[in-house]
Amino acid sequence: MNSARHILPRLKLPPAPLRGALIAIPSSQPYRSYSSHHHDTSKRKLNLPINYNDSTYLSHTPSSALAHPELPAGFASKTKRMNLYSAINDALATILSTDSKSLIFGEDVSFGGVFRCTMGLLDQFGAQRVFNTPLTEQGIMGFAIGLSSSGYTALPEIQFADYLFPAFDQIHNEASKWRYRSGGAKVFNSGNLVIRMPTGAVGHGGLYHSQSPEGFFLGMQGVKVVIPRGPAQAKGLLIAAARCGDPVVFMEPKILYRGAVEEVPVGDYELPLGKAQVVKEGKDVTLISWGTMLYTCEMAAKAAKERLGVDVEVIDLRTVHPWDKETVTNSVLKTGRCVIVHEASRAGGVGESVGAEVQERCFTRLEAPIERVTGWDVPMPLVFEPFIVPDVARVFHGIKKTVEY
């Protein structure tokens, strides 16, 4: 099982007008079975539906939301239940209202965006600051860099992370090197730049609506890559990204846009970039992941405790590039075992970097090979997605392999 197939079945199909054409087709078969459609899971013990409302990695009460140790000292705020896209929307509104030189643009952002992240912002901030661009990723990125290097905060959106690649030259050769090549000039840098994009598998996204391209950034100096796991985290990290002075690629797991719901402080707050978070302490194995996979890891860790008596420490990397070596090293030095989980392919994935660094830094303490549970080295095939994206069974198996080594 993967989270995707258990989010979407709960959603209703589009209303009759859109379905009319489908209904009219005579067929002896039922509707085709997308990977996100509901299946009988009664025999399953590990790959059970993920219920975000049960996740301890999300705050379900105002007091737990406000108890976050990374919130500023004395931070007082009301909270509101938000899903991920609402929290992103809230963060964008916060950035736009506190920074008069900030702008949002991209394909179809004016009417609210295809994932609703920019809803209402045009009304609130005007068409000069929230606007559609022509359909050109390299143009959006180049335009954003020009704005940023003129002292503006540019918040461009790439509609899907899969379509980031036409803009790769602009990000890699321009945004990431601008400050360095200008000798650290105060204005001539593209630090006020957050490139937002939906990322990750969604159950039926196929080759070009599922990708997790964060690994491509590992060889890119001068850019940070952030992937949040939930609404409150997304808001704090996104606001921090807009104010940090470095270009940030902000990847939003699209499966969580409506799936992950929690209490989010309505006030203005930042969470630290470049810092991992230990979301569950443990002593036997360190389990490292980010974004959507955290919930799979949570269930796998729970299963490991129940079935194997293994106490798993779970780390959310949050910033995947450059990632927090200190927190990871400290954890593995304590547990002696390390499992890394990500959706993206194994080769060239962030897991390679984490694995190599952990091996260098924790060599004498490692009691088993570092285990990587990742997507296979294939593109994302539509109907086979459940066999590609790491699920609870695979992560559980990775933990088991490591502790039994």
Binding site: Q138, S182, H209, G222, G245
Partner: protein, 470 residues
């Protein structure tokens, strides 16, 4: 291809049973939208957006419906297009080539007698002197590369008129984005010989801290954004910068230079399209010098140069004789005013001939005849042409020519010697400015390099650097 897929995605991603946003948008922008939209309850903000887009469509198209008796099309994608019953292709070969504007002819005689240019004696002499100074610096630096004293160089021979003429027409607050062959523009704006040399020798005074190849200049003071080697990437940057200016309600514009080869990059297309749709005050200046390294324009494009494309993007466009500095000045001045006053982009295609090799890493006689180059040098080049005009007005003389050239050569060599002797930037600059704050990784790596340098000091030329401590 992606729209239908993402449409299905968002349809499935919506928790509320209603139209997916993209279908809704498609419906809203199609005929009959009013009756359809009334059947769905739309959030207030969305209906606001829809109304906005409807009204703008309506104002642009004069209504979104196709009147049955109309003689022209009202499809949203092409307005005011007349119907025809003749099946005819528009053939590029039937279109006349766009004209090339000249102010003075090859003999330095004014041919646009109707236009008075605001170039007085001082300004004209400065324009001439900056062209000559640029060409002298080019020659000396080209030779110095040949002697191995700098690593690389690119001369601008034959194109000094485009750079200096356009720079003279810009205002001090206007922002520049350059490709790499526009040193004349910097010269005119006041980039000093010391600044040129610090960059070329990557000395400790270089603004880029010795990190960039030679000729990759920058200047915060002169609003010249740092040059990068990647072709055409600066074109959408210029558009973003122009949008920033628009936001500031500044009267300034952005000038963006690029060659005709760079105009084949996707960034050119993206930039001109965004500049037009977002109404950005940017002046695009294309230097069409006939070659992109070895590739002649015949292999670069099939249309009528770069200028003919401007119209396709809805951008006011002009072609100018780049060997005529007066024409370049006149055209840039007018383009600047258009861009600033109307808050929209303008495209200038300046025609010239790349007299020089592409760079010090190129021997252009491998792909073109030496005699052609000599012919261009002798028959028509911006410096001699402008000198004829100046001399006819008695604003310049042979004596002044000799004296100026001697002095300019001396000035360049003085700055040259100073920069060549200067220390390189401190070694600490290897690791700074990658991020706003140095990351733990970079601190670790700096410590690792430090340990290596301490253990193997004789393996490195540490004495060259202003500070070799890490």
């Amino acid at each position: 291809m992606r729209v239908p897929i993402s449409r299905s995605l968002c349809a499935l991603s919506r928790s509320q049973p209603s139209l997916c946003p993209q279908s809704r948008r498609a419906l809203l922008s199609s005929p009959g939208v009013r009756s359809l939209s009334s059947r769905f309850t739309t959030p207030r903000s969305l209906s606001y957006t829809a109304t906005r887009s409807l009204s703008s469509t309506a104002s642009r198209n004069g209504g979104i419906r196709q009147a049955p008796d109309s003689d022209s099309v009202s499809f949203p994608g092409a307005v005011k297009s007349k119907f025809t019953h003749k099946l005819e292709f528009h053939r590029p070969q039937d279109m006349p080539a766009m004209n090339t504007y000249r102010y003075i002819n090859a003999e330095g005689v004014v041919v646009d007698t109707e236009r008075k240019l605001d170039i007085d004696k001082n300004m004209a002499r400065k324009m001439y002197q900056d062209m000559v100074r640029t060409s002298i610096m080019d020659l000396i630096m080209y030779d110095s590369q040949r002697q191995g004293r700098i690593s690389f160089y690119m001369v601008s021979a034959g194109e000094e008129g485009i750079a200096v003429g356009s720079a003279a027409a810009l205002e001090a607050e206007d922002v520049l984005y350059s490709q790499y062959r526009e040193q004349g523009a910097l010269m005119y704006r006041g980039y000093t010989l010391d600044e040129f040399m610090s960059q070329l020798f990557a000395s400790k005074d270089d603004y880029g801290k010795g990190r960039n190849m030679p000729v990759h200049y920058m200047s915060e003071k002169l609003h010249l954004h740092p040059i990068s080697s990647t072709l055409a990437t600066q074109i959408p940057h210029a558009v973003g910068a122009a949008y920033a200016m628009k936001m500031e309600n500044a009267q300034s514009v952005v000038a963006c230079y690029f060659g005709e080869g760079a105009a084949s990059e996707g960034d050119f297309h993206a930039a001109l399209n965004i500049a037009a749709t977002r109404d950005c005050p940017v002046v695009f200046i294309c230097r069409n010098n006939g070659y992109a390294i070895s590739t002649p324009t015949l292999e670069q494009y099939k249309g009528d140069g770069i200028a003919s494309r401007g119209i396709g993007y809805g951008i006011e466009t002009i072609r100018v004789d780049g060997n005529d500095i007066m024409a370049v000045y006149a055209v840039t001045k007018a383009a600047r005013e258009l861009a600033s006053k109307n808050q929209k982009p303008v495209l200038i295609e300046a025609m010239s001939y790349r007299v020089s090799h592409h760079s010090t890493s190129d021997d252009s006689f491998a792909y073109r005849a030496k005699v052609d180059v000599e012919e261009w040098k002798r028959r028509d080049n911006p410096i001699t042409r402008f000198r004829k005009w100046l001399e006819a007005k008695e604003w310049w003389s042979d004596d002044e020519e000799v004296a100026f050239r001697t002095q300019a050569r001396k000035d360049v060599l003085t700055a040259f010697a100073k920069a060549e002797k200067a220390k390189k930037p401190p070694l600490g600059d290897i690791f700074t400015d990658v991020f706003a704050e140095m990351t733990p990784e970079l601190k670790e790596q700096r410590a690792q390099l430090k340990a290596i340098l301490e253990e193997y000091p004789d393996e490195y030329e540490l004495g060259e650097f202003d500070n070799s401590r890490l």
